[in-house]
């Protein structure tokens, strides 16, 4: 069973984010790391391949500056290889452009039985890329998966809903987006980290994928940022150090608000 996992390499969320003053998009020129949201899909893919008793996990990613930091983390977890799309022409690419690039890169990764993604990235969080990829590839899809089991030629997926979850059956190949927190991503072992250094990363450009540069980047985005403004700030509150009586301040405030 071969699984392709789409992974994003993002600026470390622990660092404060900043917008490029010229392009008004998120700065991504520093070191990038594996989006934690994607580590769940990588883990799930490794477990599924393991359960199937054969096959491999291939990563697909789009990132500036030939960035492989996040890919190496996922390779160290156990993925076999990666396709990385890196090209200056991709600057300013929106969600739909990203989906076009990833769909082509998935094709390049070889025959996949299953394509996994996160439900959304932690930096752009548009949450529409999984469905866009599925549509571009002409595949069925299930989003917000809590669990996936393979049963012959189909996948049985528990899909999160407002009220609980649905059992969904989908024939393979299919695109499934995986909810964060549903599996425990493994820590890469020392052996895994060493092995990851020599695992193949197939770096390609937009042209290599047969995509027209006009479909991606600023030109392909079909949307533009027209304004960036400070949001209305909340009025500064009262912040006090707990001296053992901090609870009383809360009781008083709740009483003042007439909720107790």
């Amino acid at each position: 069973m071969n699984v392709v996992v789409c992974v994003k390499q993002i600026p470390d969320p622990a660092e404060p984010g900043a917008l490029d003053p010229e392009t008004k998009t998120l700065k991504r020129d520093g070191k990038l790391i594996l989006d934690e949201s994607d580590s769940y899909g990588v883990e799930m893919a490794l477990q599924l391949v393991d359960a199937a008793g054969g096959g491999e996990v291939t990563l697909v990613s789009m990132a500036p500056n030939s960035e492989v930091g996040g890919l190496r983390t996922a390779l160290a977890m156990g993925a076999a290889k990666a396709v990385l799309v890196s090209d200056d022409a991709l600057k300013g690419t929106d969600a739909l452009g990203t989906a076009k690039v990833l769909a082509k890169a998935i094709g390049r990764a070889g025959d996949a039985d299953l394509i996994l993604t996160a439900t959304e990235s932690s930096d752009g969080y548009t949450g529409v890329v999984p469905e866009q990829i599925a549509e571009l590839l002409g595949l069925p899809s299930v989003t917000f998966a809590k669990s996936i089991t393979i049963d012959g030629g189909s996948a049985k997926v528990q899909r999160q809903t407002e009220a609980g979850y649905d059992d969904v059956e989908v024939p393979l190949p299919a695109v499934v987006s995986v909810t964060a927190g549903v599996v425990e991503p493994r820590y890469p072992s020392f052996k895994g980290i060493m092995a990851a250094k020599s695992k193949p990363v197939d770096e390609v450009t937009v042209a290599d994928l047969g995509l027209d540069a006009g479909q991606v980047g600023w030109a392909g985005a079909g949307q533009q940022i027209t304004d960036v403004a400070q949001a209305e700030a909340r009025q500064a509150g009262t912040i006090v150090e707990d001296d053992g009586e901090g609870f009383q301040k809360i009781v008083d405030f709740l009483a003042e608000l007439k909720v107790i």
Binding site: E135, P140, T143, A163, V168, A221, G222, F247
Partner: protein, 320 residues
């Protein structure tokens, strides 16, 4: 009016129309001359949709036992391609809303503006406002092409108000053949039993985060919530850690809440979380790190250990 016609994706479950559907309809009638609903719930929506300003309910039938993303997107795309589409389509940032919007975007080769909390006229079109960096900055994005404008709007961005309109007329919107894409089927539905107020409706929300130390720490949140008649909530960190189910999550990926009072205990206030609760009327935060971003939005902040503050608070409320 900025636009001539807007469609709103209408969602309903178990006889209840989603609050966000009504919010979107209210905003849409301010922005366009004609407002219509596209839904899989047909007649169920005719009354409420009409009362909120829609004149038509376009029903996508035959979706029982299917995920709605593929058939609804196909039906809308067919209408748009036949020249019967609207200028803009509004979707809630919900499970199904995102599925339809994503599919539709790829079908029509039209971009989506996501995470919208406000819609503003832009030239002869419409732009979306998206809060970033935990809501400290608002980014306005407009479409550059002439495709149908697809927006994904966050819940509780607008207040729902009735217009006094009569029940909307229900018409069928047919679904073309969706081939392999439409083959996912729902075999079972599970509804989690819940007691007490829901995060959506509660007047008070009490949420816990990693500062609770371990899973058993969440019992304090449950106790306090019960005392206050509040809904318990959680940060993504402890949902990811498996302490509480996903349905508790408040934030970017979880629920957007706007209660009268929000109490954040042991939550540092990552962007992810702030976006989901910043609209609360009053915010009380307890965290031992004085630098935690949660204090930047708090009306009352206690810099202290939740393990010391919460038990005393619970005791004090018990004796009242």
């Amino acid at each position: 009016m900025a636009l001539s016609k807007i469609w709103v994706f209408g969602e309903a479950a178990g006889g209840n129309v989603s609050g966000t559907t009504l919010e979107l309809l209210t905003k849409a009638r301010e922005l366009a001359g004609t407002v219509e609903v596209v839904t899989t719930s047909g007649a169920e929506l005719a009354g409420p949709a009409g009362a909120h300003g829609a004149t038509k309910v376009l029903n996508v039938g035959g979706t029982d036992g299917k995920l709605v993303g593929v058939p609804v997107a196909a039906a809308i795309a067919a209408a748009v391609e036949a020249g019967n589409g609207p200028d803009a389509i509004l979707f809630a940032t919900s499970y199904d809303g995102r599925d339809v919007a994503g599919r539709l975007s790829a079908k029509l080769d039209a971009p989506v503006i996501t995470n919208v909390t406000d819609l503003v006229p832009a030239g002869d079109g419409l732009a979306g406002v998206e809060p970033i960096f935990g809501g400290s900055t608002d980014v306005t994005t407009a479409f550059t092409g002439d495709k149908v404008k697809i927006f994904l709007v966050r819940p509780k961005s607008f207040a729902a108000e009735e217009s006094g309109g009569a029940a909307a007329a229900v018409e069928e919107l047919s679904v073309p053949d969706t081939g392999a894409t439409g083959t996912a089927v729902i075999t079972n539905r599970f509804v989690e039993e819940k007691t007490g107020p829901s995060l959506d409706d509660a007047d008070i929300v009490v949420s816990g985060g990693r500062g609770l130390g371990e899973q058993t720490g969440f019992e304090m949140i449950e106790t306090l919530a019960k005392q206050l008649g509040a809904a318990p909530g959680a940060s993504r960190a402890i949902v990811d850690a498996g302490w509480v189910p996903y349905s508790y999550q408040v934030g970017q990926t979880g629920k957007v809440v706007k209660p009268n009072v929000y109490i954040a205990a042991g939550i540092s206030g990552a962007t992810q979380h702030l976006v989901g609760m910043k609209g609360s009327k009053y915010i009380i935060a307890i965290n031992k790190d004085a630098e935690a971003p949660i204090f930047s939005v708090a009306d009352l902040g206690i810099v202290g250990d939740v393990h010391k503050v919460l038990p005393k608070l619970i005791e004090a409320l018990q004796s009242r």
